[in-house]
């Protein structure tokens, strides 16, 4: 919808000037027309007064000598005046000596009481003048004038004023459009500059100052504002750069510190692993000297358990993550180690390892590794006697709800009836139960006759929770 508010500034100013001109001209024209009508009416009154005076003087002799023809001739001179519709020359006694009517079809209606002077209404102007001869009243002249000429004059004035008003308005609009650019151009320039600054984020732009007027002052203030923004940006960039440098330096310091800690941790894990391996080697050397086969097995079991823990630390210092162990790498290494420790015969034992890429915290990785160690070592020691062949399967998968499932099974001879599964039956079982509890897990024996199948389900501990484990 068209709205004056949305017009460009120059067009709006031109319109305002034109409207002001039209209103001003209309008021002036109206006043002028009223003045003209008033003046013309006065002129008509004065002119008709002069006419009646002349007629009175010219009719004096006719009245005096009752010369009707002369009186009529005198009145007929009014034919030269188009606006005079009629006249009557009256004797002193009020009888009509002569009369004149412009339109023969009309007649003059004399007023009931004839008063000297003029009277006017919407249609006619009348002038009455008494005629004297040597101070004697000898008659009266009465003249009527139509006001058509007045209305025609007023109409002409109105039309002329209308044309003048329209012409003035058009001229004002055009001149306004031309001259008001002096006002609109600085503002438009200011708006264009502001738009460009807003769109391009270029605070180096400046508005043009056209003159030392208010708009020029506004441009200066606007440019000053841009200056301040630009300076503020420069200062901000300087501060950001300074802050970034500080942060970078701090980050570098932290990285260095972290790196030192990583190196330190790796060194610790390395040393722990080395120490555990020393223990393993000591247990191995000690076991060689033991004659009792049962005691020797206990040494070997302990060696295996220490080795299991050493492997965890080896995995940790060899990886980038110093707190979590990737079981997809750890389990195969552990199984290899157990194989080399316990497989003494020449039977074919197939190993099937199916472990997901799972990162497990150190505190949970050690009990989990020890559980695998216990179950694998049992399988290697007891499942395949007398050089029997078979398969051992190790599986570790993630379940729903952040749960993990560890399956260790074999297709060996199964568990003899006399082997109990109570927590206090053997050290191995005790360890299994303790380690499972430590992981807040559950141990199930799914099969014990046709091979053995253990399943342990446990929640994957987060770092914060693993620290609280006992």
């Amino acid at each position: 919808m068209f709205s004056v508010r949305d017009l460009p500034l120059a067009r709006k100013l031109s319109l305002i000037v034109a409207l002001t001109t039209v209103i001003g001209m209309a008021i002036t024209s109206l006043a002028s027309m009223v003045y003209q009508v008033f003046t013309f009416t006065n002129f008509m009154i004065v002119e008709l007064g002069a006419v009646t005076e002349v007629l009175g003087k010219n009719g004096t002799a006719a009245l005096r000598f009752q010369a009707r023809r002369d009186a009529e001739n005198t009145l007929s001179s009014l034919r030269a005046k188009d606006h005079i519709s009629g006249a009557v020359l009256l004797n002193a006694d009020g009888s009509i000596l002569a009369s004149y009517v412009r339109d023969d079809n009309k007649s003059i209606a004399l007023p009931a009481v004839i008063k000297e002077g003029w009277e006017i209404d919407y249609q006619i102007l009348t002038w009455t003048r008494h005629i004297h001869q040597d101070d004697d009243f000898i008659g009266t002249i009465y003249v009527e004038s139509e006001l058509d000429e007045l209305y025609v004059q007023a109409a002409k004035s109105a039309v002329a004023m209308l044309f003048i008003t329209l012409a003035a308005a058009a001229l004002a609009f055009l001149l306004g459009f031309m001259f008001l650019r002096a006002v609109a151009d600085p503002i438009n320039n200011l708006i264009a500059t502001a738009n460009r600054v807003s769109k391009e984020r270029d605070y180096s732009l400046r508005a043009t100052k056209y003159a030392d007027d208010d708009l020029g002052q506004l441009s200066v203030e606007f440019n000053q504002m841009l200056n301040e923004i630009e300076l503020r940006d420069v200062e901000m960039e300087r501060r950001v750069a300074q802050r970034t440098e500080e942060l970078s330096r701090a980050n570098s310091d932290l990285s260095g510190s972290l790196q030192e800690k990583v190196v330190l941790l790796k060194e610790i894990h390395h040393r722990v692993k080395n120490n555990l391996q020393v223990i393993t080697s000591l247990l191995n050397l000690q076991a060689r000297d033991i004659v009792d086969e049962g005691a020797q097995k206990l040494f070997i079991n302990s060696q295996s358990r220490v080795q299991t823990m050493a492997l965890i630390h080896e995995r940790l210092y060899q990886s980038d993550n110093l707190s979590k162990v990737n079981f997809a790498e750890y389990i195969p290494a552990l199984v290899d180690s157990l194989f080399s420790t316990y497989k003494t015969g020449s039977q074919e034992i197939d190993l099937q390892i199916d472990v997901e890429e799972l990162m497990i915290e150190l505190d949970q990785a050690i009990p989990c590794g020890l559980i695998v160690n216990e179950l694998m070592s049992n399988a290697l020691k007891y499942a395949f006697p007398e050089e029997r062949s078979g398969t051992i399967v190790v599986q570790l998968h993630a379940l729903e709800d952040n749960m993990l499932e560890l399956n260790v099974s074999d297709n060996g001879i199964g568990l003899p009836e006399e082997v109990g599964l109570e927590a206090n039956s053997t050290l191995g079982w005790q360890l299994l139960n303790i380690l499972t509890r430590q992981m807040r897990g559950a141990l199930e024996v799914l099969e014990r006759r046709q091979g053995v199948h253990f399943r342990i389900t446990f929640p994957l501990m987060l770092e914060s929770t693993t620290k609280n484990m006992v």
């Binding site: 010219n58 004096t60 002799a61 006719a62 005096r64 000598f65 010369a67 023809r69 002369d70 009186a71």
Partner: protein, 159 residues
Amino acid sequence: MAEREVGEYQAKTALIYNFAKLVQWPDSAFIADDSPFVFAFLAPDTLGSAPEILRGKRIHGRVLEVRYYEDVQSIREGNVLFCSPDSLAKVLADAPVYRNSLHVLTIGQSGDFAERGGMVDLTFEEDQLAFIVNLVEARRANLEINANLLDLAAKVIVD
């Protein structure tokens, strides 16, 4: 003829001519549309030869003729008759001109011409040429004398 008289006659001739121009004759005063306008001078008041200057002029759209008559009986035509007061009574009673038209403007130059039944009496007032009008006689003859002319008259007899 004295020089003063010549000047007076010329002035009176001019006055008569201009006076006649300001008097309206009825149409019946003329026999035909092309009838001349006749200025008649009855002896002995003939204003000398001064009226000769009027010959050939036109008045009221007609050719002006100047005619001189020696006696009343010989006056056959005349729209303006200049005569003495003594002749006036005879003229009014017996002049053949009245058989053709009663509308004759009679003009004289004595102090009582108008009072004795004439219409215009050329006279002097304070050495200035003036005239007296007998409006009653003029209207009786259906002659309309311009009111403004009457206004200039030294005297107008209206009743």
